[in-house]
Structures are given as structure tokens and as C-alpha cells.
Amino acid sequence: MSKDIKYEAAYAELQAIVRKMENDELDIDQMSEQLKRAQELIKLCKDKLTKTDEEIKKILANS
């Protein structure tokens, strides 16, 4: 998985997965793979949020 993916892109992909699932557009065979992907995306997004929060605090503390 690319670390360079933007938060917005990751979130959009996550939404797309959910939408496909809601619409039964996914093959059963893809299910576990997509679930894995979804969890990766969620972790990525949460990490980005945490990292941004820390960076903001660090930047402001230095100024």
C-alpha cells in the first residue's frame, strides 16, 4: 500500500468499498481482500489524523 496516498483519497476509496458492498457489487471472493483493504485504509486515515495532530502541536510549540 502506498504511504503517499492522501487522506481524502483514502477516505474516498473507503467509501467506494462500502458503497460497492451496500450495492452487492462485490464478488464473495473479493470480500476478505476488500475488508483487509478497508481496514488498512481506516488505519492509514487514523494514523494521518494522529500524526497531523502531533505535528500541529509540535509546530506551535516551536514558534
Binding site: 477516505y11 473507503l14 467509501q15 468499498i17 462500502v18 458492498m21 451496500e22 452487492d24 462485490l26 464473495i28 470480500m31 476488500q34 475488508l35 478497508a38 481496514q39 481506516i42 486515515c45 487514523k46 489524523l49 494522529t50 497531523t52 495532530d53 500541529i56 502541536k57 506551535l60 514558534s63
Partner: protein, 410 residues
């Protein structure tokens, strides 16, 4: 008709005797001096009276002051007026008439009233002032202002007096290290010719007035207190109309001269004139320094205000971001929880489909037919649906409910 003939001497003596007899007294007479010169201790004057309107002479006479009187009269006059007796002055003389057979008529002066001359000069000064005001030029110099950086000075002074040197020394020794440049324009600063030579110097300066910031007219110590040269209409007009500010330092204790009145600024001495210029520049420097300080101060104030605003903002940012973060995390969690649910639903559905199909499959199981007594004939593992498929001697397999039997076609 023959009458008595006189010799000139006899007739002149008759005039003299008549005069001495008829006019034995002393008289006070007002007159203008048209000439005045000293010779061997005596003073010889020419008196004149002009018609007030036409200025043509209506009376003339010679007058003499003998040395014995002159040595008293002259110091008294000069002490009181500060002036020498010169042509053009109005005087009040105490005189008696004298007619000499050989030298003719003359008034003999025994006293001069200096206050009359002073009064007359004051009147003349008032007249000049009135005229300057009428012309609207009296205050023109006052409307000018010294340039901020008044450093290029045109100096009108006499070559002989120490005034110019004092002025230059004072300027160059200023404690602030200011640089001044001065140019010297020589002129007579006392006696006759003051008016003309100062006007001439002003004309020279005017021709290159772009090169100067102001004009200084100064006269060193030791000069007489004769100010009459500075009290003329022509000089006053030239000074008043001059395009640059003029500072006068012509040193005198008594009343201001008209030159002083019309100039931009008057001071007493050349040194004071230099001090004025230094002071002016010092004030400009102070203004600049003050402005610099107040600019720095207001910039600092502005900066600290902005800093305070920034720190308020920077305190707000983490708070705002944590709101964003919480919201985003909630959305992520929602999505994260939704996916397993969706998967489960999908799998359940798939299972259900499978079960239905299983049922269908079960209902089509051939074993059920066999149980009911039907059988299935196979040839080489394939179902035989038509006897024409088979030939004599083919081995066939028949599947029954409880087993298989093999047979040969006859």
C-alpha cells in the same frame, strides 16, 4: 539823478551793519544738509529747503560751525543719535547771521539739536515702513521658511570686519558635526554705499539662488552704530522680495533697522546668526530622531499586537483540529463497523441462495426415481435414452435402487 556811490566794501559793510543791527539774536532753524565737511577743525555745511511736493529748492544757504563750538556740538550729536552729520539729514540748528564783506553771507552755527534729527529719521523710517506695508511686501520674508536642511549659506558682509570669520568659526565648530558650506559676497556694511553694495550682492546671489538655502547679512563688532544705511526703502524692498530667507546679524543695541524688520529673522551678531542656523538643523535632526523613535515604537506595538493575535490563533488551531479529528475518526469508525456487517449480510444471503439451490438439487436426485422403481441404463457410463444407440453384444449397466446389474444386448 546822481546818488551816492558806494564801493563794494562800503555797501557790503552797510549790509553787515544792517544785519547786525536788525538781526542781533540767535535763531533755531530747520533745514536739510546738502553738504557737510570738516576742514581744520571747522565744519562747513550747505543748507537747503525743498518744496515738499516738487522737491525743488526754495532756499539755500551756507553755514559754518567754528572749531570752538564744533568740538562740543559734534560729540553731543553723535552720542545722542549714533550718527555722523551727513548730507541728506534734516537738522535743527541754532544760528546767527553773519555777513562778511569779502566772504558773503553765512549762518554761524552755535548748537545742533540732535533730537530733531532723531525724530525726523524716525518719521522717515515710519514712512518707509508704511510704504512697504502698502506695497504688501513688509511681511513677505516672514512667509518664507528655512529649508529643513539649510546648509548652503550665502553670506553678505564686509571684507574687513571680523564678522565673517566669527560666523564661519561658529558654524564649523558646531558640536553636532553638521556640515555647512558658506559663500562670501562682499559688501560695504557702513558709511555711504551700504544700500547699493548690499543690493548688488543680493543681485549676484539671486542670479544663482538655486545654489543656496538662505542668505545671511552680517556685520562684525567694531562697526559704528550708524544704521542709516540699513534704513532705506530700496534696500528694504530688495530684501523683502528676495526669494530666499534672509537672516540679519548686523549688531546694534538701539531700535531695529528696517532691514531687520523685513528680514526673515534678525539676530544681534554674526555668531548668533551661525548659532541660529546650527539650532535650526539641530531641531530638524531632533525631529528626524523623534520620528525614527516613534516609527520604531509603533512598529513594535503593532508587532506585539500581531504576536498576541497569532498566539491566540495558535492556541485555537489544536482545539479546532481535535474537533476535526474526532469527527473524522467517528466517520471512519462508522465505515469500519459497517463493512463487517455488510460482509456478514452478503455471506448470509449467499448461504441462503445455496440452501435453496441445494433443495432443488436434492429434489432432482435420480436416487429418488430409483426408489420409486425406475432404473437408469448406462452404456460406457452414458445414459441410454434410445435403444437405437445400442447394438447386439453391447454391454449395458442398469442402475436400480439397491444396486447395479450388467447385461448383454441380444
Amino acid at each position: 539823478m546822481i546818488t551816492k556811490r558806494f564801493s563794494l566794501f562800503e555797501l557790503n559793510r552797510l549790509v553787515r551793519e544792517t544785519l547786525e543791527c536788525e538781526m542781533p539774536n540767535e535763531y533755531w532753524v530747520e533745514a536739510e544738509l546738502s553738504e557737510c565737511r570738516e576742514s581744520r577743525g571747522h565744519c562747513y555745511m550747505e543748507l537747503i529747503e525743498k518744496d515738499e511736493k516738487t522737491a525743488t529748492p526754495i532756499a539755500k544757504a551756507s553755514a559754518k560751525c567754528w572749531a570752538s563750538k564744533w568740538m562740543l556740538v559734534r560729540p553731543n550729536f553723535e552720542r545722542t543719535t549714533g550718527l555722523h552729520l551727513v548730507a541728506g539729514m534734516k537738522v535743527l540748528l541754532k544760528v546767527y547771521p553773519q555777513f562778511h564783506e569779502a566772504f558773503g553771507f553765512s549762518w554761524i552755527v552755535t548748537d545742533i539739536d540732535p533730537t530733531y534729527t532723531l525724530g525726523d529719521m524716525a518719521r522717515k523710517r515710519q514712512e518707509i515702513i508704511r510704504q512697504l506695508k502698502e506695497e504688501g511686501v513688509f511681511d513677505l520674508q516672514k512667509e518664507l521658511s528655512l529649508p529643513l536642511f539649510c546648509q548652503r549659506i550665502a553670506v553678505i558682509s564686509s571684507e574687513t570686519a571680523a564678522g565673517y570669520g566669527d560666523f564661519c568659526n561658529q558654524l564649523s565648530d558646531n558640536p553636532y558635526g553638521f556640515q555647512f558650506q558658506s559663500w562670501f559676497f562682499p559688501a560695504m556694511m557702513q558709511g555711504e554705499g551700504v544700500e547699493q553694495s548690499i543690493i548688488q550682492a543680493l543681485n549676484h546671489i539671486n542670479a544663482v539662488c538655486e545654489d543656496f538655502d538662505c542668505v545671511v547679512i552680517i556685520r562684525g563688532g567694531g562697526a559704528t552704530s550708524d544704521m542709516s544705511g540699513f534704513d532705506t526703502l530700496a534696500l528694504a524692498e530688495n530684501v523683502a522680495n528676495f526669494p530666499l530667507p534672509i537672516i540679519t546679524g548686523i549688531g546694534h543695541e538701539r531700535d531695529e533697522s528696517i532691514l531687520d524688520m523685513v528680514s526673515h529673522t534678525r539676530v544681534k551678531t554674526p555668531t548668533a546668526a551661525a548659532a541660529l542656523l546650527i539650532d535650526h538643523l539641530k531641531q530638524v535632526l531632533d525631529t528626524i530622531n523623534n520620528s525614527q523613535n516613534s516609527i520604531a515604537r509603533s512598529v513594535q506595538q503593532k508587532l506585539s499586537t500581531l504576536k498576541a493575535q497569532l498566539s491566540t490563533v495558535s492556541e485555537t488551531i489544536p482545539r479546532l483540529f481535535s474537533i476535526v479529528k474526532t469527527r473524522q475518526e467517528a466517520r471512519l469508525d462508522t465505515l469500519g463497523q459497517r463493512i463487517p456487517m455488510l460482509i456478514e449480510r452478503r455471506l448470509t444471503n449467499a448461504c441462503h441462495h445455496l440452501e435453496i439451490i441445494e433443495e432443488k438439487v436434492k429434489s432432482l436426485d435420480p436416487q429418488l426415481l430409483l426408489k420409486r422403481g425406475y432404473s437408469i441404463t448406462l452404456h460406457h457410463g452414458k445414459t441410454v435414452r434410445d435403444p437405437r444407440q445400442l447394438h447386439q453384444g453391447d454391454e449395458i449397466e442398469t442402475r436400480l435402487e439397491k444396486g447395479t446389474l450388467k447385461s448383454i444386448i441380444k
